[in-house]
């Protein structure tokens, strides 16, 4: 029972939550058609939301400042991470790049296929923002 386990996260497992359970319940209910949320499920959702915040901030930071620490984490670092991470795809419209996603994808495609020697052809659609 008490054998030491490998812990990928730096914090020990615990039953404390920092986010308010009642708020997480409200959020959960906003998306659920059929009601009943057990206390156990509520606890787990709160925990995993906390974990997600840590994950998102940590990853964005690590990504942005691999070399020099001590910089300020900015919105663009988050949107960059969202744009390249497959499991953050659901946030594409929540944390969009300051340019439009389809333009970004268009750019990627043009760069790949044409080797980026002539990307002037798309300038007509860039004037949205």
């Amino acid at each position: 029972m008490v054998e030491p386990k490998i812990q990928p996260v730096e914090r020990p497992p615990n039953a404390d939550t920092v986010l308010p359970l009642s708020r997480v319940r409200t959020i959960m209910k906003s998306s659920m058609d059929t009601g009943l949320i057990t206390n156990e499920v509520l606890f787990l959702m709160t925990k995993c939301t906390e974990m997600f915040v840590r994950h998102l901030a940590g990853e964005a930071y690590a990504d942005a400042f691999r070399q020099q620490p001590g910089e300020s984490l900015k919105y663009e670092h988050l949107s960059q991470l969202v744009n390249k991470s497959k499991n953050l795809e659901f946030l594409l419209q929540i944390v969009p790049e300051k340019i439009r996603v389809h333009e970004f994808q268009e750019m990627l495609r043009l760069n790949r296929s044409a080797g980026s020697d002539d990307d002037d052809s798309e300038s007509g659609s860039e004037s949205d923002e």
């Binding site: 308010p20 009943l36 057990t38 300020s72």
Partner: protein, 128 residues
């Protein structure tokens, strides 16, 4: 139900604290970035909830269980969350069990209420 859209926001101060804890001491976070993370966290909770609900429905269950959530996280490519969440859950279950035992031993003296107490405890497990 949700009356105002702000009800879906997680408290800024708590989000700020969690972010701070997960970054190096010297790091700072712009206001815009913090707001984006808070928004993302709410959407994450909704996303996982609805995906878990879909999974539960697929198995002909009406309500989601802890297992549904863990399985959903793995399916959504967040399997790295599962091990430590499983540990947290174990500790949570132990805590709930202990609380219940303390309660039960206290109520053991009043025999008449015993039956009522156990149903009440069960009801407490599943609040709406």
């Amino acid at each position: 139900m949700v009356e105002r859209i702000e009800d879906l926001n997680l408290p800024n101060s708590v989000i700020a604290r969690i972010i701070k804890e997960s970054l190096p001491e010297s790091a700072s976070v712009s206001k815009e970035a913090r707001a984006a993370i808070a928004r993302a966290a709410s959407v994450f909770a909704i996303f996982v909830t609805s995906s878990s609900t879909a999974l539960a429905h697929k198995q002909n269950h009406k309500t989601i269980t802890a297992k549904d959530i863990l399985q959903t996280l793995a399916e959504l490519d967040f399997e790295s969350f599962v091990p430590s969440l499983t540990q947290d859950l174990e500790i949570y279950r132990k805590m709930v069990k202990e609380k219940k035992e303390i309660k039960a031993s206290k109520k053991d003296t009043s025999t008449a209420e015993n039956a009522n107490a156990s149903t009440a405890a069960a009801a407490e497990d599943a609040t709406e």
